[in-house]
Subunit: 463 residues, 2 copies
């Protein structure tokens, strides 16, 4: 019948309104189908308003098929009601795809040449041939990948008793963050965040309906006294942080901060979401122990991204939680997503288990440190008024304070006009920015372009 109705629709759209359709008998003969099929097809077009039946006379084209009604969506403004916070949108500079003719210092993913392309393609190809590949994965994740994350953590210190049962696999760290925010807090609740911090976490918390209390992070990490004060003042039971190579400052919490924060979590009976986004992005030999390894009682909910070190196509992350917290997070995540494609989970497990993976991570660190140095040198030569806040030992970017009076958005817009994309720092502040910052990534552009980029930036800064 579909063929017949399609034919009739085409006919109706080419005939003038009021034109009579051929009779059922003649259509039936023309199309080589029974009269009942023709009648059913005509009834469908009547239902669609393309044809009207005049009893005793025949079927006539209404004319409404001649063209689509012009779209008018103005009614939606009032229907949608209250407006939403600005931060939840798709304009964050770190995910705006780089144009081909732009030097992408804004971009949050390593260049293809820094990715383990061979490993990833091989792992995906093997995963596709795996007997489990086309089965739905269990909601908590494929056992192999869950076991690998638990093993990675428990191998770090005998204190750490994370098991595969404590692991939930999600489609990327962003899903894990949303599930954690929703699972651990209710709309209107308060979450303490380092400031500046990852815009994705700000968006996820906002989308979960949480109120964000920003606490400044210094060179040693989150100030425990300020954290204690903020939690008391605002009754916060939930903290979000990146203790290791924070995005964007590259800060690593020192051992004293780590112990003090763990103590505060116990004291306040509170949760910390430890976003370990850069685990595979160490620029040296340092691999700080995740906080979750020193937390036997389930205060720390740990999120470990695989996407950044492997490939944007391996959308998989692991989340560790213990106790009822895990049940809540699993529930939120399940309602949002059900499960992650088995193919991607098998590929991630294959990569993690391959001997090439450790080699890749080591080599990536060396390449990133060369790139970091090259960009630092170029900036200090051509844009000396931009002050580097610290030399990153992990992660993908420099965090620079512009001279007073410079407006990051204006500088970014001017640089973009001249073919250099940089990120205004404001997107990393949940509240008001503490100064004029920009973030420059050293992983997404060819190093040969660093000099040009730095020169362009320097040109648009006050001296």
């Amino acid at each position: 019948m579909e063929r017949v109705s399609t034919h009739l629709r085409t006919l109706a759209s080419t005939l003038a309104a009021g034109t009579r359709l051929p009779s059922t008998r003649s259509l039936s003969a023309d199309l080589g189908v029974g009269p009942v099929t023709v009648q059913r097809a005509v009834a469908l077009l009547v239902a669609e308003g393309l044809v009207e039946t005049r009893p005793g006379t025949g079927n006539f084209v209404t004319g409404s098929a001649r063209r689509a009604t012009p779209r008018d969506v103005a009614w939606q403004a009032e229907a949608l009601g209250l407006t939403r916070p600005r931060v939840v949108d798709t304009t964050a500079s770190g995910v705006r795809a780089p144009g081909a003719d732009v030097i992408p210092l804004h971009w949050g993913y390593p260049l293809p040449e820094l990715q383990p392309e061979g490993l990833v393609r091989t792992a995906l190809s093997r995963a596709v041939r795996h007997p489990d590949a086309l089965m739905p994965a269990p909601s908590s994740g494929h056992p192999l990948l869950r076991q690998l994350l638990a093993g990675e953590l428990s191998a770090r210190t005998p204190e750490c008793d994370v098991t595969a049962d404590d692991v939930l696999i999600t489609s990327g760290a962003q899903s894990a963050l949303v599930a954690a925010f929703r699972g651990l807090a209710s709309p209107g609740d308060t979450v303490v965040m380092e400031t500046p911090t990852f815009w994705g976490a700000i968006a996820a918390a906002t989308e979960a309906g949480l109120q964000i209390v920003p606490v400044a992070s210094g060179p040693r990490g989150l100030d425990p006294e300020a954290l204690d004060r903020a939690m008391r003042t605002h009754g916060a039971r939930l903290v979000y942080a990146q203790p290791t190579w924070a995005n964007p400052t590259a800060t690593v919490w020192d051992p004293t901060t780590r112990s003090a924060v763990l103590g505060l979590l116990e004291e306040h009976a509170a949760f910390l979401i430890e976003d370990d986004w850069a685990r595979d992005l160490s620029l040296g030999d340092d691999h700080p122990l995740p906080l979750v390894c020193r937390d036997p009682h389930g205060h720390v909910v740990y999120v470990r991204s695989y996407t950044k070190g492997m490939s944007p196509s391996i959308r998989a992350a692991g989340l560790v939680a213990r106790g009822p917290a895990m049940q809540r997070i699993r529930g939120s995540r399940w309602a949002a997503d059900l499960y992650v494609s088995t193919v991607l989970q098998l590929a991630a497990a294959e990569i993690l288990g391959s001997p090439g993976w450790r080699r890749h991570v080591g080599g990536l660190g060396r390449q990133l440190s060369v790139r970091r140095d090259a960009l630092m040198t170029a900036i200090s030569r051509h844009a000396p008024s931009a002050e580097l806040t610290s030399v990153p030992q992990g992660g993908l970017s420099l965090w620079l304070r512009l001279p007073e009076g410079a407006d990051p958005a204006t500088v970014a817009a001017r640089c973009l006009q001249d073919g250099v994309a940089i990120s205004p720092g404001d997107e990393w502040f949940p509240g008001e920015p503490s100064g004029p910052f920009v973030r420059l990534g050293y992983a997404a552009a060819p190093t040969e372009q660093f000099e040009t980029a730095a020169r362009t930036i320097g040109r648009h800064l006050p001296r």
Copy 2:
């Protein structure tokens, strides 16, 4: 340094508390590293609490490394605060993986032999080799897949002007539903739903903090008068429904219902989420026109699943929305997920564009209709007191009313003890069930098992 600290941790875990560690010099010589490296490794263990330094005496094992602290998560109950609604959990029978020795009439995915396994593996393998495969996809989706969905809709009728710009690709229909609920309504708002309806939609709306107003669906679909009344009484501006082969009743809205509901949406300036979950699961020649094709002004937000007809591994769905509604939904989705793996999107596009796909969909429908008939026959023979509510023309399951007095949960539990998994109907009701129902899937078990299954069910029903 990692090697050294790992060595020291092993040492600390095997020595009694209070034992002195070897001197820096002797460790340095044993491990073939410089004394500074040893000191840094010791400092790390001190930070981790495994070792303590007694000035002037040396470094001593604290004993805390000897075994993991027993986990105590009792504090979480109070920290997590208000309890959550029951529906958001991971026990829904449609996603509990079937045990190997159970006849899985509860399971929501077609058997591997009904999936286009060759097509899927070939498409995934080709996708892995595609030049875009390892690039992050644009947040709204890969252009190819967006274009294919827009083309599928606009080919149906000249009235329909959906373009690729109106399409958002999400990782499965569940993500699309959550994004739509969050984007179109705020916590505390009301959504009208058909009852019974898909448990995943109930979970998604609940997770989005919405109040659900259930409206009974009859053999012609949602009753427009009841819908009008419910929207007025509760001030609802959002409706969720499956107008074509609803899960679980297999109801198809008739043309009058469709027109009336579209009229009501305009009258109330309201949105309808049209969940077209079974588009590829027609058991005959009928392919009803999606409502979105008759809605020029963006009242209908359309969700089209690819996972069901292709493979659980192709976690991809398309959502169509127009106007500010799309901006809101895109924002919610972006905060939750950022983007979908390019590999999965390319594979879905490859499958949809292949000549084998149409053949597969046609063949699947024929196989499903044979299976439907076989299960219907077996049930009417062995469990005649279970009344089939309608003969499904699409989808994967029968919806049966048990005789009065039967408790679906008890029947399901007894059947499971005897090796047959069925779904108690209660999970499909957002409110109180309107009667004792069970859902039996005909796609996930070998047909040879239908007789045994029906006999087991019959044994546990009142006569």
